[in-house]
Amino acid sequence: MNDMRNVIFISLLSFFITSCEDVIDVDVPTAPPRLVIDASINWFKNTPGNEQFIKLTLSAPYFDTEVPPANGAQVIITDTNNNTFNFVEDRNTGFYSNNNFVPEINGIYNLTITYNNEVYTATETLKSVSSVEFIEQQNDGGFTGDEIEIKAFYTDPINEENFYFYRFTNTTEPDISLEVYDDEFTDGNQIFAFYTDEDLAKGHELIIRNFGISEQFYEFMFILQQQTGDNGGGPFETQPATVRGNCINQTNPENYPFGYFRVSEADELTYIVQ
């Protein structure tokens, strides 16, 4: 629904043959770097879920071509059963991995990161997820009427508040699309996650992942979506602002990190476009 405004507007632009989009040079301000916590613990169905990794990087000036990794941090996750999972950095890549993680549905996990003498913490609950049941493909959809549309169907459990995070990865293109859904209007129903892209073509490999998320992650991702990619900008953009996740800098609250600590049950389906 949220994209509707942009969709209507863009369709209207098809009239104005003189309208155009150009890449231009713009001077943007530069803010000092912050720690970025990309901590996604995913327990895929029918796997033990013991191998997990966390990525730590720093933010960079907007037009830089790369973001630097955050090296030398100490990363630990603890659960309510007194387990401690240590994440060890792989050389200097900013990837911290662990291979003895114990995932549990509705388990509560605490993340502690020590970086640059500051301590960052976060807490999250492992949310369950509905499986991706089947895919429906339509070849006459999209905004021009001839794009391929993919619908990934799942069934929402009734009488609970559920939130979903979908990741569509086109390995052939490559392209990544993220969507979050709630069940406010679809509680208990079979409903679908939607993906379309003008470059999607026959033979492309699409990996569809569904993650169970908390309401807090849903809100976080919702705001992030508003500001990035296809949804960002345009006359109908909502006022953008810094998006705060669930990680706190205990040592120095003003130096808060970007990113989120998410713990989810996940399901995956690979689909070759017909």
Partner: protein
């Protein structure tokens, strides 16, 4: 004792003398245009020997009470020949006048106001009036004459960019403008995202924009009043008026219902550009249409009735997967009644409906939302004497708000039926306004409006702990929705919340010389309805919400001061204003307003202020006519935290509103080369709109995320463009039968790519971040053929 007796006799005589030598009589009547009997608004009736006069009201009626005697009268109205006459006032008389359009009837004037000496004295400021003819002169994109585009050329009026609907007056938001069409409120003044306005220029008789100095008879919105009156229709003969353009066409038919007594007017407009899209293999549809109707009937010399209607729709559809329809509907019945030759009244009964519907076939649901209102207005204009005029009346509106209903459109749809709770309200006002000539040089208008708003009972009003629907999470330093702890259901006749406000309005005009004056005004206004919109400009998806338990009325104070001068063919106005608004709604970061049944969970209360100065230089006579307007202003808002430990929005600091434009220069002019050819041109220059640029980037979940800091701290590049159009009239002296003219125009002559928005994104091919500018209109030529029968 003798001294006292003489003194008493003197006083007695002084008291008695007025009774004899100052017998007063009233002259009143209607001023109309000769060939159509269309009443004329704002016609000046000047009595030069008495140095006094009056003007006709919105229904063409005038009334003035003068001492017995014989006087010269000069009746003048821009675009028409003057009438010079002599009146013998020995008793109360009714005298109607018919004005004839100036014979070179294509010699249009751009603004008609403040040309006469009488207007130098009038205690009215911050008002601009435009006639339909002048609106049709101003070149606009695609050659379509447009009311809203024309008023944005005036000082103090701007909009939030191309593709934005609505307009902004003196730093106010688009929902703070009261837009009236024949006394009925219009909620959305634009078609197709602001590319066209909902007003058919052929159907309009007169238009006034009040930017400040708003009289007490208007209320309900805090920034401005756009008061538009439609023509009644020619009650002598049938006529048609129309035009065919590249994107849209219009046709208006008018004529008598009963010769000299009744008339009708039917006008329609539609766009058809979407019919060409299949040529480009695009299966989308976007069009609008509107219909204006009016029936007028003169029952007898003291009673007139009118029935007006307006129906407009915008339709978008995308390849069968999605269809969107929205628009205004208005039906309005009015009765003018003359209680005496000094007391004019108008009763209006209005029904208005704003509908918004969405049909999403690919997700299988339908969405309907809207606002309906019933409105009764009773206005009295009491012409007590030539120095004192009183206006008073009442205005009552009953609202029903449907914030939305979501319905599955097929039996297999995955969407559940959901109805957002309907809201009801009752807004009332009583007002009294006086226009008082205190001395030869000083005229004042002062008034008071008492307004009240009752939020009526509804189902399921949410209750929150400590009455706080928004909570501040100190750990994460973000605002979050609070969960309701309970809900309450009321009867329709219960009153959940009530508000009332006294709104004083004062304007002073002090004449300095015959050609110049100083004016000052103070307004206090309140607004009880709010358009919920957290995008840079309103969209049709935005919902109007009434004040209530969690949403307070907006309250405004505006001060303005100005200097006015006429010299030779020019007039000059300089005005400065300052306004403050309490209870301006602001939204927490990422607020999702669509289909939100609990909007109180995403809003915070803030304040706004705006100040600036405006300069307007106009040339009203001669081959070259036009105006140059310059506005320098600031419009900002602030939402501090509710307690010292809360952040507020944008860290509780003032930030620019989306329509804050520091410098705004508009030039519009017309040059009559010959009887057949006329050149019209516009030049605009504006400071770029405020926007937010990213101050860093990071990678999360494989996606590059731009990070934004303060709201609206940056600016888009400056906006400027030049438009030119030529009007060609093949037979300028023809004034019977089919008369026509062509307009050849170019919008944005030097093809400036003005940024509507700049988006920041990662280029998938190169892997680098880039800024992409969207410009909607490059150079756009247009042609239209316009006729009158």
């Amino acid at each position: 004792m003798k001294l006292l007796k003489s003194a008493l006799i003197c006083i007695f005589c002084l008291i008695n003398i007025p009774l004899f030598s100052q017998e007063k009589y009233t002259i009143s009547g209607i001023v109309s245009e000769k060939t159509s009997n269309e009443t004329l608004i704002g016609v000046t009736m000047l009595f030069p020997e008495l140095n006094t006069g009056t003007t006709t009201n919105e229904y063409g009626f005038y009334s003035i009470t003068l001492p017995k005697g014989t006087y010269k009268i000069i009746i003048s109205y821009v675009g028409f020949d003057n009438i010079n006459d002599t009146i013998s006032l020995n008793e109360n008389i009714t005298k109607n006048f018919n004005l004839i359009e100036t014979s070179e009837n294509l010699d249009e004037v751009i603004i008609k106001e403040n040309v006469e000496k009488l207007n130098i004295r009038k205690p009215q400021m911050s008002i601009n009036a435009l006639s339909s003819n002048s609106i049709k002169q101003i070149p606009v994109v695609l050659g379509e004459a447009d009311v809203i585009k024309a008023i944005t050329l005036l000082p103090g009026v701007t909009n939030a960019g191309e593709g934005s609907s609505g307009f902004n007056v003196r730093g106010g938001s688009a929902d703070q403008n009261l837009i009236l069409l024949d006394e009925a409120t219009i909620y959305n003044s634009s078609h197709l995202f602001g590319f066209f306005s909902v007003f058919n220029p052929d159907a309009i008789k007169d238009l006034k924009l009040y930017k400040g100095g708003i009289p007490a008879r208007y209320g309900g919105r805090v920034a401005s009043v756009l008061d538009i009156y439609q023509k009644e229709g020619n009650n002598k003969a049938f006529h048609a008026n129309g035009g065919i353009g590249i994107v849209s066409s219009r046709l208006l038919i008018e004529g008598p219902l009963k010769k000299d007594e009744g008339s009708f007017l039917l006008g329609g407009r539609s766009s058809y550009a979407h019919l060409f899209l299949p040529l480009f293999d695009i299966d989308n549809v976007a069009y609008f249409y509107d219909l204006n109707t009016k029936f007028s009937y003169k029952l007898n010399k003291n009673n007139n009735i009118y029935l007006s209607g307006y129906f407009g729709r915008d339709v978008f559809s995308l390849a069968d997967s999605f269809e969107n329809t929205y628009g205004n509907t208005l039906v309005n019945f009015r009765w003018n009644h003359l209680f005496s030759d000094k007391l004019f009244s108008n009763l209006s009964l209005i029904y208005s409906d704003y509908y918004y519907g969405l049909n999403l076939d690919f997700v299988e649901f339908e969405w309907n939302s809207g606002i309906q209102n019933f409105n009764v207005k009773y206005d009295f204009k009491h012409y007590i004497s030539d120095t004192f005029k009183l206006q008073y009346g009442l205005n009552s509106i009953y609202y029903k708000f449907n914030p939305g209903k979501i319905e599955p459109s097929t039996p297999t749809s995955g969407i559940n039926l959901f109805k957002l709770t309907d809201k009801y309200a009752f807004e009332n006002a009583l007002y009294i306004d006086a226009e008082h000539k205190l001395s030869d040089k000083l005229t004042m208008s002062y008034g008071l409006r008492f307004s009240s708003f009752l939020r009526l009972g509804q189902d399921e009003l949410n209750i929150y702990e400590n009455d706080l629907p928004v909570i501040f999470n100190e750990d994460f330093q973000v605002y979050q929705n609070a969960k309701p702890i309970d809900s309450e259901t009321f009867k329709r006749s219960d009153i959940i919340e009530s508000f009332s406000n006294l709104e004083p309005r004062v304007t002073l005009a002090l004449q300095l010389t015959n050609e110049s004056s100083i004016k000052a005004s103070y307004n206090r206004m309140s607004q009880y309805l709010h358009l919920l919109s957290n995008t840079s400009s309103p969209t049709p998806l935005d919902v109007w919400t009434p004040s209530g338990k969690y949403v307070k009325p907006q309250l405004l104070n505006q001060f303005a001061i100005g200097y006015f001068k006429n010299f030779n063919d020019y007039s000059f106005e300089l005005e400065s204003y300052y306004k403050t608004i309490k209870n301006r709604i602001d939204y927490i970061d990422g607020a999702d307003l669509i289909a939100n049944n609990a909007i109180e969970q995403v809003i915070l209360n803030g304040k706004a202020r705006a100040y600036g100065f405006e300069v307007l230089l106009r040339k009203n006579e001669g081959r070259f006519k036009g105006w140059l307007a310059y506005t320098m202003s600031k419009s900002e808002q602030q939402t501090p935290g509710r307690t010292p430990s809360e952040l507020g929005i944008n860290n509780g600091e003032w930030y620019s509103t989306a329509y804050d434009k520091t410098h705004d220069i508009s030039f519009t002019g017309s040059y009559q080369f010959s009887k057949k050819w006329k050149l019209n041109t516009n030049f605009l220059f504006q400071t770029g709109q405020p926007t937010s640029y990213p101050n860093s980037q990071y990678i999360f979940e494989g996606i590059t995320i731009p990070n934004f800091g303060n709201r609206n701290a940056d600016r888009l590049p400056a906006y400027h463009r030049l438009d030119v159009s030529f009007r060609y009239t093949p037979k300028p002296s023809k004034n019977k039968g089919l008369q026509s003219y062509w307009v050849f125009g170019v919008y944005n002559l030097y093809d400036r790519k003005n940024a509507t928005s700049i988006t920041f994104d990662r280029n998938v091919t190169t892997g680098a971040n880039e800024a992409t500018r969207l410009a909607i209109f490059g150079i756009v030529p247009s042609v239209s053929y316009n006729f009158k029968l």
